[in-house]
Amino acid sequence: MKIIGVAACTVGIAHTYIAQEKLENAGKKAGHEISIETQGTIGTENELSAKQIQEADIVILAADVKVSGRDRFEGKRVIQVPTEVAVKSPNKLIKKVEEVMAQKQ
């Protein structure tokens, strides 16, 4: 499965980056292609390309604040959770994503 997402937290220096790393690790471990953009105090990093967005099966928004450029994901299946869910239970979150996609098919 191709998963993309955005991580963004309140202060923009801690949970954003831990959430990105944990989600990418959990996604890869489960055999998916995954890329998470960070919107933190540094600005946007690992910015998702139009191609990545177009090809994605699902979008994870791990965010405690408004995600910039959310309209890029219009028409996509989106799961939104607080960053702490991605930080504390990344594997469970990826499982949830798999379930959502299975229901869709």
């Binding site: 202060v11 220096i13 831990i18 790393e21 540094i42 702490e84 504390k88």
Partner: protein, 144 residues
């Protein structure tokens, strides 16, 4: 205390409540103690600081701190941070200076990413004192 610049590490810390922790950090990083304590409490209302079992990451961005600092405390005795975060053994506290330079923010973000690694967290939770301090110093040196 062992460490320099951005990173500091403390072993066998004798905190017993999160209020003790906020008080200590505020006193050591700012002239505006009460404001810093308030900022931690306000940030915590927005979401839990628990990042792994036994590990909390209290962090704020503040105009009232003079230098950004990451302070790692291994506790002499675990305590319950709150109802959800029980038996806390490792506290990683971050105070980020308002309008900090981008290079320092990048260094901090790299360190934060490393906290996603369960093996690294496990090492910090279980390392002997010398190794614990070395982990932090190494981290600072590798990324300087």
């Amino acid at each position: 205390m062992v460490g320099k610049n951005l990173f500091q590490s403390y072993f066998d810390s004798h905190f017993q409540t999160k209020e003790d922790v906020y008080e200590w950090i505020a006193e050591h990083t700012s002239q505006q103690r009460l404001t810093v304590i308030d900022q931690f409490e306000e940030r915590e209302k927005a979401g839990s600081f628990l990042i792994a079992e036994h590990v909390v990451l209290p962090h704020i961005e503040s105009e009232e701190v003079e230098e950004s600092q990451i302070m790692m405390f291994r506790l002499a005795k675990p305590f319950d941070w709150d109802q959800e975060s029980t038996d806390v053994q490792l506290i990683i506290a971050l105070v980020l200076k308002k309008d900090e330079e981008i290079g320092t923010k990048k260094k901090i973000s790299l360190f934060m990413r490393s906290l996603a690694d369960e093996a690294f967290i496990d090492e910090l939770l279980h390392a002997e004192e010398t190794t614990f301090h070395q982990k932090i110093i190494q981290f600072q040196e590798e990324r300087s």
